[in-house]
Symmetry: C2
Subunit: 796 residues, 2 copies
């Protein structure tokens, strides 16, 4: 929604408080702009009170000699002189009108701005004057700083020159800053007694913002025409005395600098960055660089230096991969920003060994007692990201195994893991070593240690859920085992029901035989089972048959000597091999469920959580462990401790953001939007499915039947589309190519602002995937479905 | 400085603006408290204007029937009715008085509070009423929210009931929250027209804060006694109508809950956390857990459930290890909080491949062109912490070597690194593999790959800087080589001067011979030189002879075939082996210099930066690389890209905090405090030393001569004291034991608040180290020196 035009400089005007002189200074700005530009637009989105007192009327009266260049507009006018939210309530009550939603409100501003911008290409200025103070409520009751945020307009703050005005001005500035706004100028009246500008000028200068103090307006005269003349003289003096024109020149300079900066960013970024997972030689030029000027809810605001003449240089681009699977609540969520600020303001960072602080303790207890660790985990170990969290998990599991089997010396070094082919646990060497080395994803020190099964997978093909067995298993299974009879996706994920099907024995026998032949062959001692439950993400969005994972855990736990007994009130100690669940991607509602444990019907001994954990804001990981894992390190010898830690372990900012995230995602899981989506996935009227998705089941069905599509899957927020392509490797571009057209914005009618976005998405070889936040608006998901369908149609 | 007493509930009262009724509501609270508690203290730290209008006088007049229980105080009174900063300026001008510093101001409040608390142990309440709005300036000109922050008092916010008051109240709340304050109640007047409380009540309830709206005061009457009577009736009504008493009961409950929460935290933490690098079995109980309630500048505020009766349950504890070497500007620095908030508000997190955003680009360019990468680095690769940054560096170096030597298949897997014994690069397996496996720091998958030299070291012993050669080198060197003649520490670090000393040839020959014999022995192919320049931190604060590191780099670069030529305008390509500088600990002024490169006189090909990079707030790392390293990955084959990345790579919050940090640390490096410290380390009057420290050179000399001390070293912010101990291993507790007494707080006179702190410090076996921030107050460093000296004296 963000708007930026080369020929039209737009500023929003916020007041440090009510009655600080917003309209008077806006009038001065409008008159000054009229002297410099072809057109000046003044927008008062909401006006309350009698029309003759309205701000836009004042501007009209006093816009000076060049009034033909001045265009004023008010979008929502209420005649009761109260705050907009009250005025809207009164109007709604009186006239049975529905209160205007934030989206409608912002869209109507956007439409107005686009109309103005399309009037011509001559230089023009626009001022959008807000009402009251920065946090004054809008029509819906959301306060202005939040409601206007999608527009992300550069800001003029009108300071408060009265007693207490220093504080009011700085606090208003901080509220703007918490929403990321760039304040480009502070204007206020000169006051010889309180001298607020004397204090505020150096204060804001240090923060890169010019402060301009102007003479206060003359007293109001009782005679209307005298008053008019006196006011006119005042405005004329402000312009001629050159107190307003320098402000305008400064705003023009900043506008040009912003455009120049944005235009220069692709080249400079190509010169300075070494991007992750990017082959720089394949970047064709500046156009391949996405310049993100800001982000809001599910959208990036992306700069395009070469857009259509007269159109906004910023466009909305849907963050179609939830920014590498991190986003849960949308970008720049104010509640998370405030949580980050609160922890930073209270602690900064404090070191963690033998230390406790409220954010970390609250998070640990939440994860253990009321989250994914419920019923099995006893401890939380913090680290910085999924990869470090997995390194911690591996160190835990391997040590637990070593201690249990009394391994010493070289025997401790000859340990491997059991897993599934296609797994991915992060990019540090230890996490890589827990995955098979095949294909291109490797490096010099990568030394894969273990054995990985080819897993059976789940997909929807031609409208039907299918279980595809790898060749080794297919040979052993009866023909009917490859397809689930009932036909619903939920039946595939109904693990308890499927535990009595013949496929269990097929899986069990295959796993047992494989493990026996591995033992006979010698080599590495298998010391842990490492799984990404349900979906192997980075491996190519591989939806693994949950029954296979369940049987694998059961078989592994049924082998080897029983573990030493522990207290009866602690959960059962690990058996066979320690089991690690890497829930970094799949956990915390990414797949529509808080944890995969209830669905699989087995708990791990260690689990790892990251990504959504911090609501998509900052890195933080948590490794959960059962008591029997912890006991392997518990000793009077310091050297036997888990010697792992990072400088910022359990940093309070991350923990506090995580606490707020868990609160919000849990709330989201009980939302009407989720209930409605879940209803669409019911297996029978009133009977919820075992699995569900924010994606529409009909859409999934339709796409699965398209010619270009080999198979589709959706769980929770995730949609994966495998395109028909002979080359299924990491370096395949087939999915990118097929969906190319989705990257461009629809140029629909101005009336439907909300559908006007392009899509930023990622592919994994021949798999295109799309991922929403947990709170993505249903209409956005529907829009995206339409776009995907259209793109696939075009390519077919 | 934080204060918390079991028997004395203290709240600070902040106003959403001036004239919102702070004093009236404070009076109501005081009267209510008098009805419930033995004593009520009312403190107005600063009062401006005529005494008869002063807030404390109003309280005195209207404190009701139980006035003998009410005690009022004003610490700084000015008679001019203007903002405190102006009043202080006027007073200073009139009476040639020095303006009161923030520290003095806060100390005087602390002293008053302690006096009140020591009056008795019966239940009492205290209210500290601030002046004007939250950001109104104090005497020094710093605004109140920042100035009062070290006290970290729970807060009552008086809301604004007037037009615009919704915005003023929320913005004031957000400014409080940015400093971490806990707002426990919002009080405001009822206003039937604007109905602000109708909006604010659900707003704050959602944020866990109760809002109470009370009747506004009666109009002021012209007759003084009638006015008094009317005001008295108003207060009586507020109490009897039960609008104030529920607020007080709520504040009491919160006070008790806070104490109960803090008291329960050690036990709960022992049950829920798995701490890094901690052997849980060695924790003796709750008293071994440090409960950090908040932190400010260099101090933790630590809760002690078992403190002296009547004393504050919170004590100041100096963060003596700069929170695992991360702190540069003190905890909870408001500028960093605002930077974090700004980036969170603008972007949240946005994914990074082929994306650019201003905070990351600014940071990359700063590091490359005006920071540690100046003159040699061409690219920045972001990751999450020092360990991941080192994994990236290793992947870069090993690949560059492989490509250069055209290695394929198994040859690529048989690569090792050259380094120094005692090095540490992080806890992920790849970073561990770049270090020798010896001692206890290892794990199952640790597989050290390379060769590590025993390095010569620098220390101060008995007042003299000494270079200690390891046995192999000592045999080859002349006796005089082991001590530097001139006797000044700077001469040891004057690498250019020492390049012409005989020791160079001793080092060079030793290194060459060692490398030759390694080659003859076969085994791993050495593919990179990995160094922590100047100091190996985690290895035990080993100060390596810089000349040895310089000669090592020179020798390594002089070996092997020359690299392929590149463009003439790019820096020289790497030669011999790619050189990695791990500057995670030593860089960015930790040792008093931005980078170690100028001192050593050689640039690396890859460098890694973290810790101070983000000012001690959140994890972020940057790996810098030269163009010739980058070229090894540049290819038309996607598979040859550097396939490494973390979800939160280049997260805007971290990058923005880093940008602000680099700006602030650079400013600090030009501060008067640094100039004064550097002057003490001059080698001759007016001649700056090559190295210097915030620690006093005389103190270093004195300590180095103490019986209990084997050797001492100091550079920049770091002080390391090696105690005499036969057991020099990681598990040694000798340094901990020796300095045990420093952990306890001096109970000095009440007059010297600023010296009253205990010290939280870490040891590495027989080495105790202390680390300041870059901006630690000189008086704090002097205090700490006194405490260290005293502790060492006691133990000797």
């Amino acid at each position: 929604m963000s708007l930026l035009f080369k020929h039209l400089r737009i500023h929003q005007i916020f007041g440090a408080n009510t009655d600080v002189g917003k309209t008077i200074l806006a009038t001065a700005l409008v008159r000054g702009s009229a002297a410099l530009k072809n057109d000046v637009f003044y927008l008062k989105p909401i006006s309350t009170g009698p029309i003759q007192d309205a701000d836009d009327e004042h501007i009209k009266r006093h816009c000076g000699a060049l009034k033909n260049r001045v265009h004023t507009e008010c979008l929502y006018r209420f005649h009761v002189p109260v705050s907009p939210h009250l005025a809207a309530q009164i109007a709604a009550g009186d006239e049975s009108r529905k209160i205007v939603s934030d989206a409608t409100f912002v869209n109507s501003i956007t439409s107005y701005v686009r109309r103005c911008a399309s009037r011509g290409t001559g230089p023009a200025d626009m001022y959008v004057e807000t009402a009251g103070g920065v946090h004054s409520p809008t029509l819906s009751g959301v306060t202005q700083v939040d409601c206007y945020r999608p527009l992300f307009l550069p800001t003029i703050l009108i300071g408060d020159s009265r007693l207490g005005g220093i504080s009011a001005t700085i606090s208003a500035y901080e509220s703007l800053l918490l929403r990321g706004y760039v304040v480009e100028a502070v204007l206020l009246f000169r006051d010889e007694y309180y001298r607020n500008s004397d204090f505020l000028t150096p204060y804001f200068t240090e923060r890169g913002i010019d402060v301009t103090a102007v003479d206060p307006p003359p007293p109001i005269l009782s005679d209307a025409s005298e008053n008019f003349a006196s006011t006119e003289r005042y405005y004329e003096r402000l312009i001629s005395e050159d107190s307003i024109l320098p402000v305008l020149r400064n705003l023009d300079t900043r506008h040009e600098r912003r455009l120049a900066e944005l235009t220069s960013m692709p080249r400079r970024s190509l010169d300075a960055f070494w991007w992750p997972f990017v082959q720089h030689d394949l970047i064709k030029g500046e156009k391949d660089v996405t310049v993100i000027d800001s982000a809001s809810s599910d959208f990036f605001s992306v700069y395009d230096a070469h857009g259509t003449e007269g159109a906004s240089a910023l466009e909305s681009q849907l963050d179609g991969s939830a920014s590498w699977w991190t986003q849960a609540l949308g970008h720049a969520h104010p509640t998370l920003t405030l949580a980050a600020a609160r922890a930073s303001g209270r602690y900064g960072h404090v070191m963690f060994p033998q230390v406790t602080h409220a954010p970390a303790l609250q998070l640990a207890e939440r994860l253990l007692h009321d989250g994914p660790g419920k019923g099995w985990a006893s401890r939380v170990f913090f680290s910085d990201d999924g990869s470090t969290g997995m390194e911690v998990a591996l160190k835990m599991a391997l040590r637990a195994f070593s201690v249990h089997r009394c391994l010493q010396g070289a025997d401790r070094k000859a340990l491997g893991v059991l897993g599934l082919r296609g797994s991915y646990h992060g990019d540090t060497i230890g996490a890589m070593d827990a995955c098979a080395e095949e294909g291109v994803y490797t490096c010099e020190w990568h030394n894969a240690k273990g054995y990985w099964f080819d897993p059976p997978t789940v997909s929807i093909q031609d409208g039907h859920p299918i279980i595809t067995l790898p060749p080794a298993l297919a040979a052993a299974a009866a023909p009917s085992d490859s397809t689930v009879a009932s036909g619903s996706l939920s039946s595939v994920y109904d693990v308890p029901a499927r535990l009595s099907t013949p496929l269990v024995e097929v899986y069990r026998t295959y796993i047992r035989n494989t493990l026996r032949s591995l033992e006979r062959a010698g080599g590495l001692q298998l010391a842990a089972l490492v799984l990404e439950p349900l979906v192997m993400g980075a491996g190519g969005m591989i939806f693994v048959d949950p029954l296979f994972q369940r049987v694998l855990v059961d078989v592994v736990r049924g082998r080897g000597p029983p573990p030493p007994s522990t207290d009866s009130d602690t959960p059962a100690p690990w058996r066979g091999l320690p089991v690690i669940f890497d829930e970094v991607f799949v956990g915390l509602y990414r797949l529509g469920m808080e944890s995969t444990i209830p669905l699989l019907g087995v708990s791990p001994d260690i689990s790892v959580h990251a990504k959504i954990l911090t609501g998509g804001l900052v890195p933080l990981a948590a490794t959960l462990a059962s008591d029997s894992i912890f006991q392997a390190f518990y000793s009077t010898d310091k050297a036997e401790a888990l010697l792992h830690g990072h400088s910022y372990t359990a940093h309070p900012l991350g923990c506090e953001v995580a606490n707020e995230t868990l609160r919000l995602v849990e709330k989201e899981s009980r939302s009407e939007a989720w209930a409605a989506a879940q209803a669409r996935w019911e297996v029978a009227p009133g009977k919820p499915g075992v699995v569900w998705s924010l994606w529409d089941p009909q859409f999934i069905q339709t796409v699965s039947r398209m010619d270009a599509v080999a198979e589709v899957m959706a769980l929770g927020t995730v949609l994966a589309i495998k395109v028909r392509d002979s080359e299924a490797s990491y370096v395949s571009h087939s999915a990118q190519t097929l969906l190319q057209s989705i990257k461009f914005r629809d140029t629909g009618s101005l009336a439907s602002e909300s559908g006007q976005f392009s899509v930023h998405f990622r592919t994994l070889g021949n798999v295109a995937y799309f991922m929403t936040s947990l709170n993505t608006a249903p209409e956005t998901v529907r829009s995206l479905e339409d776009k995907i369908w259209t793109a696939l149609q075009k390519s077919s």
